[in-house]
Symmetry: C2
Subunit: 713 residues, 2 copies
């Protein structure tokens, strides 16, 4: 077979985004099989069962027909245009079929065949060639080693996938890196009656990526909620950029698995990828406005709620119940997930008191007791929905045998109609609940059996609302006293000698060029020079030995503190030069900073993302307890504020016990400068300001030690 010149691809019609996958005019199945229980048969069955409106062409070398459709020996024999082709032939034959697709001007292929990157180096090479050739030919590829796509868009219903789930149209779109997890979630949502808009599982993702699918689903007005499963994030920067735009318009829920070391090892083994750290996923999701969930169950609960109810405008939850104990389980879960349960307003309490039994509890949860009927439910729901102090309502109902439960259900629906805030239900516990659930769900009120599930769903509604409302678009923060060229020079001089750790003088220069306050300092080669520098700077001073391989200076006793006069400096300098003599040392002399609260500020490069920025308490004792939080560069002021406020020991920075607090504005400024420094200088792999001595406002907060490492690539 001769490879086709690139030009032939141009005969295809122009598809926007991934339209060739989700709105093809005609589909070919290369590797169609007359044998039932094969992928090459199942896809034809699925396309037929879900009523794909265009022609479907089985391609098979010998069979005249497959699944009642005329079969073609080759793609070329097909008369009309083909926009999308499944390739289900052996992995070694996939590339040939790709060339055939190019001849036929196929715009998009779904390579279901496995045996690529996931099976080791030979498969990896095969996948690399597939992706490269597809790019040359201008063909977009889903997979290889993937399920494919599903769409319930009435304009083009399409089940181009070999799984089996009974889907019905809905507003949730699913993109799942893991096909198994995709099936678990899709099937459960269908069983809950939630419905599906589009589904994509792109397996090894050699071409079409998860962010690209997310972007496509984001632009699809038929999708109101997007559910995402990922195991690795090969291009976090792209995911971040895409999701940031999508999540302002609609909620994106994500489950990232491989969060433990063992799970990440299994991901690497399962996908043929590299071992990835989970640590940055939270930062990416947070910055992207993605609501992260922790299990498939939680994912389904949240998707179920968001598909029927609006996101909440805040975190204030009202809980209404006819049974105390399940409402308490819901309360615990809601609070653990960041919701608050404020008391009803005085007016609302008066309304409730007028409508409910005298024994009802008018706090939050509002407990109407088991005898509450439709009348009480209706009155209480109306009262709570009318209270501007709430952002969401959780209606808890345990079906008592002595109450007309269906009447209660109908009244919950009636009273919630047109509510300005979302409503979720927790319906328990007897078999009699089933009809209640049916009535509520039919009216779009998501109903959960477990109190914690309902509370978790309410929390997801609130979190999604926060994400959609957020305004923290990180832009270029204006900072005075930034000398970009000075910073670049420091980095380039280190790169010029092959990279690695900057020496202290370079590191101080780097920090200073970005306006990061450091103590006055100077270099010296001899004790005499050190003493002269000390006298220039003013006592007390700190003396540090400097050598290429001397990084952990404190551990190696290469730092002498609190030198108060010339003779001390001479003696300490001579001692340092003597002790490290074999390592050709020089010296740095710096002004000793006054005491203060020690914190640390750092940055680290993350592949394909940029840098994370760290903030924590400093000093050896506190480092041992690891009180450090992270953010993503570039940061805005509020990111820095949030980080400083969210360490466990945050109160050490506050005023109290007769002491002034640390200068928060100075710390925010310092974090922003570090963020800017590493963003401007991507070759910096690590930057550590540790300790930074935090001082009260009006006094200089400064970094008394700066370490930095650069790498050419």
């Amino acid at each position: 077979m001769t490879a086709l010149p690139l030009a032939a691809g141009r005969e295809k019609i122009g598809f926007a985004g991934l339209d060739a996958f989700f709105h093809p005019r005609a589909i070919a199945v290369i590797g169609a099989s007359p044998q039932k229980l094969t992928i090459g048969h199942r896809i034809l069955e699925n396309l037929a069962a879900y009523g794909f409106p265009g022609p479907v062409y089985p391609v098979h070398p010998t069979a005249g027909a497959v699944n009642g459709l005329r079969a073609y020996r080759t793609l070329r024999e097909i008369d009309g245009p083909v926009d999308l082709a499944h390739i289900i032939v052996k992995s070694a034959m996939v590339l040939d079929q790709l060339e055939e697709c190019a001849h036929k001007s196929v715009a998009a292929v779904i390579v279901n065949t496995s045996g690529f990157r996931e099976v080791g180096s030979e498969g990896e090479e095969r996948e690399r060639r597939l992706a490269e050739r597809a790019r040359e030919l201008g063909i977009r590829v889903f997979g290889p080693n993937c399920q494919g796509v599903i769409s319930t868009d009435p304009a083009c219903p399409l089940y181009s996938n070999f799984t089996f789930a009974r889907v019905r149209p809905g507003v949730v779109s699913i993109v799942a890196q893991g096909g198994g997890v995709g099936e678990v979630v899709n099937n459960e949502l269908q069983e809950r009656g939630v419905g599906l808009r589009m589904y994509a599982s792109n397996g090894n993702a050699c071409d079409v990526s998860v962010p690209e699918i997310l972007e496509y689903f984001g632009a699809d007005d038929g999708a109101r909620v997007i559910v995402l499963h990922v195991e690795s994030i090969p291009d976090p920067r792209r995911l971040l950029e895409v999701a940031r735009a999508v999540t302002r318009r609609k909620p994106v829920l994500a489950l990232k698995s491989g969060t433990t070391r063992e799970g990440a090892k299994a991901v690497a083994s399962h996908t043929g990828g590299l071992l990835e750290e989970d640590a940055t996923a939270d930062l990416v999701f947070e910055a992207a406005g993605i609501v992260r969930v922790r299990s498939t169950r939680e994912l389904c609960d949240a998707a179920s709620a968001l598909s029927r109810q609006p996101a909440a405008r805040g975190r204030r939850l009202a809980v209404l119940t006819n049974a105390g104990s399940p409402a308490i389980c819901a309360t615990d879960e809601a609070v653990n997930r960041g919701l608050s349960l404020p008391e009803p307003s005085a007016g609302t309490k008066a309304e409730l008191r007028a409508s409910l039994f005298a024994t009802a509890s008018l706090h939050n949860p509002v407990d109407m007791m088991a005898t509450a009927t439709a009348r009480e439910y209706g009155a209480a729901i109306r009262a709570l929905l009318g209270d501007p102090g709430y952002d969401a309502l959780l209606v808890s109902f345990i079906t008592p045998f002595f109450v007309d439960c269906e009447a209660v259900a109908r009244e919950i629906v009636a009273a919630s109609a047109g509510a300005r805030i979302p409503v979720v239900a927790n319906v328990m516990a007897s078999p009699e609940r089933e009809e209640v659930v049916r009535i509520l769900e039919a009216a779009g009120i998501p109903s959960f059996y477990h109190p914690e599930a309902a509370a978790g769903a309410a929390a997801a509604l609130s979190r999604a609302g926060e994400m959609m409302r957020r305004t923290d678009e990180p832009g270029r923060v204006e900072l005075s006293r930034v000398d970009e060229s000075g910073g670049r020079a420091a980095v380039e001089s280190a790169l010029a000698r092959g990279g690695g750790w900057l020496d202290p003088a370079e590191a101080f220069a780097l920090a200073s060029s970005y306006g990061i306050p450091v103590p006055e300092w100077g270099s010296a080669a001899t004790p005499e020079e050190a003493a002269a520098e000390a006298e220039r700077i003013g006592f007390p001073v700190v003396l540090k030995a400097v050598a290429r391989d001397l990084v952990h200076r404190s551990d190696e006793d290469a730092v002498v503190l609190d030198l108060r006069d010339r003779s001390n400096v001479l003696a300490a300098a001579a001692d340092l030069l003597d002790r490290f003599a074999r390592r050709s040392p020089s010296l740095v002399v710096q002004k000793q900073a006054p005491a203060g609260t020690e914190v640390l500020v750092g940055a680290a490069a993350v592949a394909n993302l940029g840098h994370t920025v760290a903030f924590g308490l400093g000093g050896i004792l506190v480092e041992a307890v690891n009180d450090v939080v992270f953010g993503l560069a570039p940061m805005a002021s509020q990111d820095a504020e949030r980080m400083i406020g969210s360490i466990r020991g945050a109160r050490l920075l506050e005023a109290g016990r007769g002491k002034p607090g640390a200068d928060r504005a100075a710390l925010v400024d310092l974090l922003l400068r570090v963020s800017r420094l590493v963003t401007d200088n991507p070759r910096i792999r690590e930057l550590d300001l540790n300790p930074v001595i935090a001082r009260p406002a009006g006094e200089a907060t400064m970094a008394v030690d700066v370490r930095a490492r650069v790498e050419a690539r």
Copy 2:
């Protein structure tokens, strides 16, 4: 009505434990009602439907018959004996009916009626009188404001409860303080086909308590698993003692709600109890061997697994799957819950390699790929069950359309038969799974839809095994140099003046009497005396001002460190006496301890329990990050070891970076002495040794400040 003298109660037959509730010969329903949809009718229906074998007597003032049974106007009219009576009359009438029960020699009553402690002070008084009178009459009371009991014991099937759940016999017994949560759990377990042994929800629990029911279920051989729901733990010591014995024989799973402040407030409002701290519940459950779960869903998952599978002998989980991504979700969850996933042994890998496809991944999870059939499942399960490196097996199966799924299910059952370790299954995702689940469940293999649920169940099996195997019966630890009478004298002298904080001299004396090392010290009233004491003790010394209301000495600058000569002491003493002159100060002089790692050891009294013991890093910086762990006195050495090892900053106590580690044995000894001190002296409300200076072995680890507070009651 005349109150019956106590003697009449003696005509009852002697029931052991709660047998009168669970094995009554005859039952009366006082407040039986001919009206359907009332509690007084429903209980009669339930008793009839579940075939209670003895006579049931409706008591109703006018109806001749209720639910097809002859009704009696009063209890006295009944001819035969009555062992158990429901009381469903208005709350104001309950006491009268209790007297009637005494006349009839009724042994046990279930007061379903509400309107007691949960409705405020009037109800509280009514409940107090009910409990008191029942005690006088020798009648045991369930409730008031409760559901009642259920039993499926074939010797006496009994549905003495107004809820409705379709129960069938099983091995799980449920005791639920919250009736609603009890229903949620019971109903779900029944829907999962797990079955019930006994059920009890005792509402306000004015007499029969949760620990008493737990003890009864513990002694019942028909119960293999006990499920517990509590909202408050009014008598934690009793729960601890009872559970400690039960959990060696069978697993006890507990959900404690009201864990958040908001939840606890709702509990107080709902039960009419006091606001309780959740903090000690973990300690009580841990010490009692109870497996704590965090939600109703997790409770049902764990109960479902433990009812069919043995507890695991360790934490090493093997995961076998035909789909990568769900197994990774299971791996994450398992690891997060403390399980490990070791690699298969070389021999096991060889076996797996011989049986599975070449593309299978032979790590853990073992991923056989989607094409695995019954043959591969069988071979792999046999190989993994034969590997002594595993304590539990999780079989994950996503039902592919091209595999004979029922054959796989049958093979999972066959290969797991007689396994020496527990097996749980995760069966996903198409509707075709239902038959697979049916086959597995029928064979006693608990099957879960969500990967995380299966992993959570495996973790519960492991945790239950740990609890059943534990040997840490805390006894009286032998400690040398304990002068109990000296300790008692210090406490009593403080109590004699009305309690409150001990002064530093008393506190040092208290600690010393239990062999807790403190620095050499002395008291002084004047600068001259202080100087003399300092010279006796040896420099450097620390000087502290002492006054009744001076507790937070560091905050008030009432401590002067590092006094190196007589003149320093004179000056510092004069200054302290001057600054605190209005508070009639005296002085304590103590030897300044050498530097070391600062830790804190403390103890606090908990109502009806004893004392908790705290251990953490000391010093103001570290206290701010709150790196403190707790234990329960009296403690054994391994408790102290565990505490010291489980602070976040534990590595600060270890040797490293050229420094010797802290003397662990000395810290363990110190914790045990504190535990013994507070156990011997229950009037101590708080004891704080902060800081304790931890030093390397061979040097004195000592408490340089000791604060203690005592209260008469």
